[in-house]
């Protein structure tokens, strides 16, 4: 299976699950598990090639100009992580099937889980870092959905929000860091970046890039001081915690550090940021874990601590550190996930996760005890389990690290961390399973196999890895560590390193100290309880509250609902900025001469200016003002016609007609006059602003018209290619349907959406009681005018209908070569039909309407889309047009272009949108009690006898 398909598989499975949603939870879980299993098998299919030391690569250009490519790469490191993601993912799916209660929405859970799985898999398979970032953000989003899965629980919502805010903010920092990295390396492909370590480390941008990327990794992997989101994310269902917060999502930050290790690691800066952050996090997390009572909180802080350890190991920048990090990633995933599942089982059976209320469960739940026992011992680092082995290697690496010249500091702190780990691991085990049985926990028993089998599989791995490390896991560590270091790695994992090994003595110290800590637990606990604790959550919430308060203050000052003032402010701002930016700049020389004026044009211009003035002056009388504005539009279309733009003239005049009809219809409901409300000063202020705007635009237009463009206009291409390239002589039309067809495609969709919005608004108005009552109130006397549908008008419009349509067809057909086209034809058709509505009434017209206008819009968009897609069949880009000339003997040679089909889509969309908008206004009138004409012309014919 190709890597691209492998990366897509979880998303496809998610789609399948959502389709199967109604078949019940077994089918859903089965589909999810099957999809994951197939991916897992496919992953192993790539193993031979990876083992041979070759990365599997699959590439596809996506946005090559932006450096974003759908390039995937699978090497040892990617394989290890993909194995964790899919392997543990499969077990989690099984576990979740039995864990979730029957009231929980199953499909949603599995869809989110699979989407998350896909996002994680995408991160570890990405070769392109921009692609990686995309998946990275996707994990933030999907984990938000998963943590907040129990939407009714406030803690779940708050925890999800916090996780999203912090990992999302870190993701932004990382975005900047990766962009810098790509800039330095000259490519966004990892396979290129990883070869440029020298250039990257020598670059002055190395430090900012490193800090930004580490910010992303630290927030994701819950390193101090960003660790606090992880414990709050425990509000998620336990399968989510086991998956996201032990094995996958929190390891994404580590993955990134490991992935970029060859180019970023090795510098002092890397060591002091990453290793220090990791070490502090390790000790701090382990310390807090000792004092938590909630099982999941213990595990959460323990996870914080272990992530810190791995971060520290990567931060060392040494090969030994990298090998130890890889091995501990494996060990931690295998013992932490079952511990979460065990906590979930206990919670499921005992209905509490509070360690102070638990105890003595070893007899009642022997299987759960056995699983918890082995996993917890591994977490504590008890030999021979895998936790012991990885801890030994880690301590060994720490023992040889000196911090700022001090040799004993790092080993000491690391030993303290290990000591705390021993303490909380034993406390977890003892608090839940050991001690006397609690009376209120009587009658508990082990869960169904569905719940204990998945952790059992992982615990088995813990044990096998522990007993035969070289046989079972050394190969995988070698593969992954080799990929981290970009060189051959040879791994030796032993239980016994001899008495001279410092790690041995550090371990001994950790066990002794850990057990001593537990012995003095009661005293330490009271000190802990009294000690002040810096609370990340409180700081985070204070920050949010501060931001919200600031936003509210700004909004209250500026957004007071006074729209006319916003307008004034916006216009004044634009005017000032224009003035500011052009101030002091000289105009270029005038390069064009004035076009001579004719007398007729002068008269027309005078009429136009008079109409504009009158519309403004008399604007309070709305019908008059509307007619004047309509007149302005007509004069402008005359102007277009005069200035060599016949297409514009046609469009303007037809749009003007439908706009005026629309406004008249609306005025039917609105007040007919505008009361005088603003004072002298306000009106004077508005006038000053308006005049400044007018003078400014006039000056700009004048200056523009008398100068040639600084660069040669691109229209020469369109004029040249109109005929040979697009097969039409009307350059405006060929631009619309061909050269810039994609624009037009977007525009007809916008128009269609506008019409649908209108229909929706009318629907909402007719449903609401208030507006409905007001409408009924508005027309108290139905049929005020006796002659609402005068016979002469009706007959005239009936005659106009076919003529108008014929003109529309004519305009449509000639559009490619002569002025016209889909837009104008659609408007002409609409006017012809509108006249029927006006003359004969809504009811009469609607009764004769075969198609819904919604459908006409949809058909238009579909035809345009299909035309565009059609070019794919000829292996050409979307919307490439083709044309041919056909000559049939009796008539002249005519041309058939796919562009004409596209124009048909435009035509239908325009027609449907205009009609939908206007007919909906008519629907309002009907709802207001206006009666439909029952007979043609409203004439009641006397009944004939015998019929």
């Amino acid at each position: 299976m190709s890597l691209m398909l492998l990366a897509a598989l979880p998303f496809l499975t998610a789609l399948l699950v959502s389709v199967l949603a109604r078949f019940g939870k077994d089918v859903i879980a089965l589909a999810a598990a099957a999809g994951t299993l197939i991916a897992l098998i496919a992953l192993f299919g790539h193993l031979p090639q990876i083992s041979a030391g070759q990365a599997v690569i699959s590439q596809m250009a996506w946005l090559p100009t932006a450096g974003l490519n759908a390039n995937f790469m699978l090497d040892g490191l990617g394989f290890l992580f993909a194995l964790l993601i899919l392997g543990i993912g499969f077990l989690i799916i099984v576990y979740a099937r039995f864990y979730l209660s029957k009231d929980d929405p199953f499909p949603r859970f599995f869809v989110f889980l699979l989407l998350f799985q896909g996002a994680m898999l995408g991160i570890v398979l990405s070769d392109n870092i921009l692609l990686l970032l995309l998946f990275w953000e996707m994990t933030s989003l999907t984990s938000f959905l998963l943590i907040g899965y129990w939407q009714r629980v406030p803690e779940a919502r708050a925890g999800a929000r916090m996780a999203l805010a912090i990992t999302g903010a870190g993701g932004l920092a990382m975005f900047a860091g990766l962009l810098l990295l790509g800039q330095i390396a000259g490519s966004f492909d990892l396979s290129v970046i990883l070869t440029k370590a020298d250039i990257i480390q020598a670059s002055p941008l190395y430090a900012p890039a490193l800090v930004l990327i580490v910010l992303g990794a630290f927030t994701k992997s819950a390193q101090m001081p960003f660790h606090f989101w992880l414990p709050h994310a425990m509000a998620a269902p336990t399968p989510v915690s086991a998956y996201l917060h032990s094995a996958t999502m929190v390891k994404a930050g580590l993955f990134l550090l490991a992935r970029l290790w060859p180019v970023l690691a090795g510098s002092d800066l890397w060591f002091y940021i990453v290793a220090t952050g990791g070490l502090l996090t390790m000790v701090f997390g382990a310390k807090v874990a000792i004092f938590k009572d909630d099982l999941k909180a213990i595990l959460a802080y323990s996870t914080v601590s272990h992530l810190g350890l791995i971060t520290f190991l990567l931060g060392l920048g040494t090969k030994a550190g990298a090998v130890a990090a890889v091995f501990h990633i494996m060990a931690h995933a295998t013992f932490k996930a079952p511990l979460f599942m065990v906590a979930g089982i206990v919670d499921h059976e005992a209905h509490t996760r509070d360690i102070s209320k638990l105890g003595g469960l070893r007899r009642a739940m022997p299987i759960t005890f056995a699983l918890g026992f082995l996993a917890a011992l591994s977490m504590a680092g008890v030999p021979p389990l895998n936790g012991f082995l990885s801890k030994e290697i880690a301590l060994e690496a720490a023992a040889h690290t000196s911090f700022a010249g001090v040799g004993w500091l790092v080993p000491l702190v690391a030993s303290l961390g290990a000591m705390f780990s021993v303490a909380y691991a034993f406390r977890f085990l003892g608090g839940v399973f050991l001690g006397p049985p609690r009376p209120h926990l009587d009658g508990l028993h082990d869960p169904k196999p569905g719940l204990w089998l998945p952790p059992a599989v992982l615990v088995l791995i813990v044990v096998v890895m522990g007993f035969v490390p070289m046989l079972s896991s050394a190969w995988l560590v070698e593969l992954a560590a080799g990929a981290v270091m970009q060189s051959e790695a040879s791994v030796k994992i032993y239980h016994w390193h001899g008495l001279q090994s410092p790690a041995l003595w550090m371990s001994v110290f950790a066990f002794g100290g850990g057990i001593a800590l537990l012995g003095a637990y009661a005293g330490l606990r009271s000190i802990w309880n009294a000690a002040p604790k810096p609370d990340g959550k409180a700081a985070f919430e204070a920050l949010l509250a501060g931001l919200a308060a600031t936003a509210r203050m700004v909004a209250a000052r500026t957004h007071d609902g006074q729209l006319s003032r916003y307008m004034a402010l916006a216009i004044v701002a634009v005017l000032s900025l224009t003035l500011y930016s052009s101030w002091g700049h000289l105009l270029g020389p005038q390069s064009r001469v004035l076009t001579p004026l004719t007398g007729a044009v002068m008269v027309g211009g005078a009429v136009l200016l008079a109409a504009i003035g009158a519309a403004t002056w008399y604007h309070a009388q709305r019908i008059l003002a509307l007619l004047l504005v309509g007149g302005v539009g007509l004069m402008i279309s005359a102007g277009f016609a005069y200035m060599s733009a016949p297409d514009l003239a046609l469009t303007q005049i037809t749009v003007e007609v439908v706009t005026v009809i629309l406004m008249v219809l609306a005025l039917n409901f609105l007040p007919k006059t505008t009361p005088l409300e603003s004072g002298m000063m306000q009106r004077a202020g508005a006038a000053v602003i308006a005049l400044s705007a007018g003078v400014g635009t006039a000056a700009l237009a004048y200056v523009l018209m008398l100068r040639d463009a600084a660069f040669a206009p691109i229209s020469a291409f369109h004029l040249e290619q109109s005929k040979p390239g697009a097969g039409g002589t009307n350059a405006v039309n060929t631009i619309i349907v061909d050269f810039r067809g994609f624009d037009t495609y977007g525009e007809i969709i916008v128009l269609g959406i506008a019409a649908l919005v209108i229909a929706a608004v009318v629907d909402a108005l007719l449903d609401a009681p208030g507006p409905k009552a007001r409408l009924l109130d508005m027309f108290p006397v139905a049929g005020r005018a006796g002659d609402r549908h005068p016979m002469m008008v009706v007959i005239a419009t009936r005659i106009i209908l076919p003529i108008g349509m014929l003109i529309g067809v004519y305009i449509f057909l000639r559009g490619h070569n002569q002025p016209g086209g889909g837009f104008v034809a659609g408007l002409v058709f609409a006017i012809a039909i509108l006249l029927q509505y006006i003359a004969s009434g809504y009811g009469w017209s609607e009764a004769r309407q075969r198609f819904k206008y919604h459908g006409v819009i949809g058909a238009g968009v579909l035809i345009a889309t299909a035309t565009g897609l059609g070019s794919w069949l000829a292996s050409r880009p979307f919307m490439t047009t083709n044309y041919a000339y056909i000559s049939l003997p009796p008539i002249e040679t005519f041309e058939v272009a796919t562009a004409a089909l596209f124009d048909l889509g435009v035509f239908l969309c325009v027609l449907g949108a205009v009609m939908l908008a206007l007919s909906n206004l008519a629907r309002l009138a009907r709802a207001g009690g206006q009666e439909d004409a029952k007979t043609p012309f409203d004439i009641v014919m006397p009944k004939r006898k015998g019929r």
């Binding site: 007071d560 519309a615 309070a620 504005v629 439908v658 009361p675 000056a699 005929k723 037009t744």
Partner: protein, 112 residues
């Protein structure tokens, strides 16, 4: 000719701006219509003034008007119809809901 066009654009802008600064919805909509005329004409003349030179390829023609601004304005005219229709409906809806056609929020009247 250019002077007249500039004056027309200026007048359309001034009238449109003045009307959009009104407090009732209908004058604002009329103002937006006038402003769209101004914008469309402005965009159109960015192809410069050309008389008797329609951008329709023919053998005898020596000069063509710039077709690109025309194509852009053509779709802009149709889109501005869509916009006017939506705004009008929203104004109508607000009037039917609240009983007045103020564009400004009524709450602020009390503050002033």
């Amino acid at each position: 000719m250019e002077i007249l066009i500039a004056i027309v654009i200026g007048a359309l802008t001034a009238a449109g701006t003045y009307l959009t600064l009104q407090r009732r919805s209908f004058p604002v909509i009329l103002g937006l219509s006038l402003l769209s005329y101004a914008v469309n004409v402005f965009l159109f003349i960015s192809g410069r003034v050309a008389i008797n030179a329609p951008p329709i390829i023919s053998k005898g023609a020596t000069q063509y008007a710039d077709p690109l601004p025309q194509a852009l304005v053509l779709t802009a005219i149709v889109i501005s119809f869509g916009m006017t229709a939506v705004v009008l409906l929203l104004a109508l809806g607000s009037y039917l809901h609240s009983g007045d056609d103020m564009a400004d929020s009524p709450k602020t009247k009390a503050i002033e």
